[in-house]
């Protein structure tokens, strides 16, 4: 009998590849939701491992809030060029121009919530029946409850009280017309697992994940990048800081952390020692105890 090394990263990787291939096998029109963050970048590497030397059986879909970090967009475009796969962009600006959503006002205005409408429109337009996302169960307590194949109704809603049983490694992807399934291949990964995987696989990341100098202001106790997308007033003091981002989303809702970590090894030691969760750096979760559950019920990722 042969022995072999199969450590926890191998196991998580093999599970994710299995899930991606189930999506390919079970759906007509799947898509991979690509945000430009480290989790979806990890998904792209996993898709390469699942399908190369073939093409991906799905396009990448980016829901573009228009409030992006420049670095994310240039990373996205270079990556798409390198892997040679199709990219579809759903634009929140377009949804605003069409009057489908209304821009928030006030100091804490963000386009984060508006994304849901653009996402649902994009799903409807291309008739996607499965959307692969990089959400992890360790991120947040409502996510900790979600299945790997998670059914959404015609209105994009998640019903946490009526989830299908999900047994062994058998995923039921059968749905009615109009419904779709959100698929989370890295459900069982933690933030640290993702970083360790990125290090092991030598995956390139957008530079904003690493320490750099940036103009910031402090809002609700958190450091936000000063940008034209943030409604600033006279009370806001702009300070130059050495920062990096732990999670990357819309510029108006992603907070920075002060950090000197310039190498992935530094980041890993920083996270291992950190006493604050990754979601602690997101303004969107601070609203209430059930903020995420409510957004998911409404069709959020």
């Amino acid at each position: 009998m042969s022995t072999y090394n199969f450590d926890y990263l191998d196991e998580l990787e093999a599970e994710a590849i299995h899930i991606l291939r189930e999506v390919a096998g079970q759906f007509e029109k799947p898509a991979l939701l690509f945000s430009g963050g480290k989790d979806s970048i990890t998904l792209v590497r996993l898709a390469e491992k699942a399908f190369r030397p073939g093409k991906f059986p799905f396009p990448l879909v980016h829901i573009d809030t228009g409030h992006n970090f420049e670095e994310t967009i240039s990373y996205r475009d270079q990556m798409v060029e390198r892997i040679g796969e199709k990219l579809i962009i759903g634009s929140v600006q377009e949804s605003i121009d069409q009057g489908k959503v209304v821009e928030q006002t006030g100091k804490n205005a963000s386009r984060n919530a508006l994304q849901t409408v653009t996402l649902l429109d994009t799903i409807a337009k291309y008739q996607f029946d499965a959307c692969i996302g990089g959400a992890r169960r360790d991120e947040e307590k409502a996510r900790a409850k979600e299945r790997i194949f998670s059914v959404r109704d015609e209105f994009g809603q998640w019903d946490p009280k009526r989830q299908r049983p999900e047994l062994w490694n058998i995923y039921n992807g059968k749905i009615h017309k109009g419904e779709n399934i959100r698929v989370f291949p890295i459900s069982n990964w933690t933030e640290l697992d993702v970083w360790n995987y990125i290090r092991r696989e030598k995956i390139d990341l957008p530079s904003i994940y690493f320490s750099h100098e940036r103009d910031c202001i402090t809002r609700n106790g958190q450091l936000m990048a000063a940008s034209p997308f943030l409604n600033m007033d006279d009370e806001d003091v702009v300070e130059r800081k050495q920062v990096r981002f732990r999670t990357v989303g819309d510029m108006s809702c992603t907070a920075a952390v002060e950090s000197d970590a310039t190498l992935i090894d530094d980041i890993i030691s920083e996270i291992s020692a950190s006493k604050i969760s990754e979601r602690g750096a997101r303004m969107d979760d601070k609203v209430s105890e059930a903020a995420m559950e409510d957004r998911k019920k409404g069709g959020y990722f």
């Binding site: 072999y4 199969f6 093999a14 399908f51 947040e140 409850k145 299945r147 047994l167 062994w168």
Partner: protein
């Protein structure tokens, strides 16, 4: 470092969620902002301390009612091991969610409230644990603080459970007296129960053997996807992508493709940029065969010298998970790995009475019923018996009217 997957089971309010919260809390796995959220929550214990159960009770309805409705997954690690925990509900109404959490675990923690001893849900959950073939069982006698940490109470309960364990043929059972609320014997050994000589729960979990590596000779790989780039330079490329369920495929191994029965030889194994000599249980790979055989999704590549069973008539244990009762007159879909085919339940052999564990003849199967049936499938399935090979011995039933997953099946025999 490897991963231990475990889940908590037991009756309502036996303290499952609290126990998990305590494990996370005492291993310093709760981050400051999460702790802050806990402290500011209005669900508190009677003495004003934080209620650790809300760490896993993540849905609004759960927090409002103080019960667990669906499985929550939690993650933590110590220096020795990584842990994936499924906190499952105790309410009988949500048994299907308990089975969901249990199906991927290799260890079960069964909680018993020291004041109540073995109750109906203890028996039901222990029975499900035995059906699912979960290898290790830890029985935690909880709320010892409420019975004055009494050894007599503890001993009486474990004597009772031992009888049940024997009836259910649970081979590996460990007993630990704990207080999830106070933290006795969860991470640290308790000073309140000097009469207990065993380890704390965490220490036990850190060293129990996980046996993740499948050592069986039953090499099986269901084909999930056929990779055919059809580009100029890869014109004839044809790779079969899948996850090895069990056993090992080596280069030049003789294999059989089911259901066609075609034989061939493993020509090449690919894993992204590597071409290993072998593919082992658990790995997701691409296999190339020497001969040009017709293979598509739903087929299984197996070791030619250890073939699985093939049958259209299978005896199986069924766990019914839908509010709508089983209808023996209609067709369901059965999903066995990547294969989906039509089926009917052609006979109900018996149902199990959870209180007495006795088998009864039955003509109906309702939510949470468990028993033995015969399934008749449209296409033959290539399967192993659940006890020999869990991964190739299980399947789900899907109601084609609602698309819901309505049953869990564990194969027990091919019917001739």
């Amino acid at each position: 470092m490897n991963i231990l997957k475990f889940f908590t089971a037991g009756s309502v309010d036996d303290g499952k969620s609290t126990l998990i919260g305590r494990l996370l809390y005492d291993t310093d796995s709760i981050l400051a902002d999460q702790l802050e959220a806990l402290q500011s929550s209005n669900r508190k214990n009677d003495d004003g301390t934080i209620d650790l159960a809300i760490l896993t009770d993540g849905l609004r309805a759960e927090r409002e009612q103080g019960i667990t409705i669906d499985v929550a997954y939690k993650y933590f690690q110590t220096e020795k091991r990584k842990f994936i925990i499924a906190d499952t509900p105790g309410h009988i109404q949500y048994t299907r969610n308990m089975v969901t959490g249990a199906s991927t675990a290799n260890l079960a923690i069964i909680l018993i409230d020291a004041r109540n001893g073995v109750v109906e849900q203890t028996i039901r959950h222990s029975y499900i644990v035995s059906l699912l073939g979960i290898k290790h069982v830890v029985v935690c006698i909880n709320k010892m603080d409420m019975v004055d940490y009494s050894e007599t109470v503890y001993s009486a309960i474990i004597e009772k459970y031992k009888v049940l364990a024997q009836q259910l043929k649970l081979a590996d059972v460990t007993y630990i007296p704990v207080s999830a609320l106070k933290g006795d014997n969860i991470v640290q050994n308790s000073g309140n129960m000097d009469w207990y000589e065993g380890e704390s729960l965490l220490h036990f979990l850190e060293k129990v053997d996980t046996d993740n590596l499948d050592k069986s000779q039953l090499a099986r790989m269901p084909v999930q996807w056929v990779i055919r780039p059809q580009t100029e330079e890869l014109h004839d490329y044809r790779g079969y992508a899948g996850r090895v369920l069990s056993g090992t495929f080596n280069l030049n191994d003789k294999v059989t493709v089911l259901p066609s029965g075609a034989s061939s030889t493993v020509e090449k194994i690919e894993f992204f940029d590597q071409t290993p000599d072998a593919a082992h249980a658990g790995q997701s790979v691409i296999i190339h065969l020497k001969d040009d055989v017709d293979i598509s999704r739903g087929d299984t590549i197996v070791n030619a010298s250890a073939l699985p069973q093939e049958s259209k008539l299978i005896e199986a244990d069924l766990c019914w998970m839908d509010g709508r009762a089983l209808d023996t007159s209609i067709m369901y879909n059965i999903q066995h790995n990547s294969k989906i085919t039509r089926c009917k339940i052609s006979e109900i052999l018996h149902k199990v009475d959870i209180n007495t564990l006795e088998k009864h003849a039955a003509d109906e199967f309702k939510l949470n019923d468990i028993g033995r049936v015969i399934i008749k499938t449209a296409d033959a399935l290539a399967f192993d018996l659940y006890d020999d090979n869990r991964a190739n011995g299980s399947a789900i039933l899907v109601d084609t009217r609602t698309n819901l997953t309505v049953g869990a099946l564990m194969f027990r025999a091919a019917v001739e």
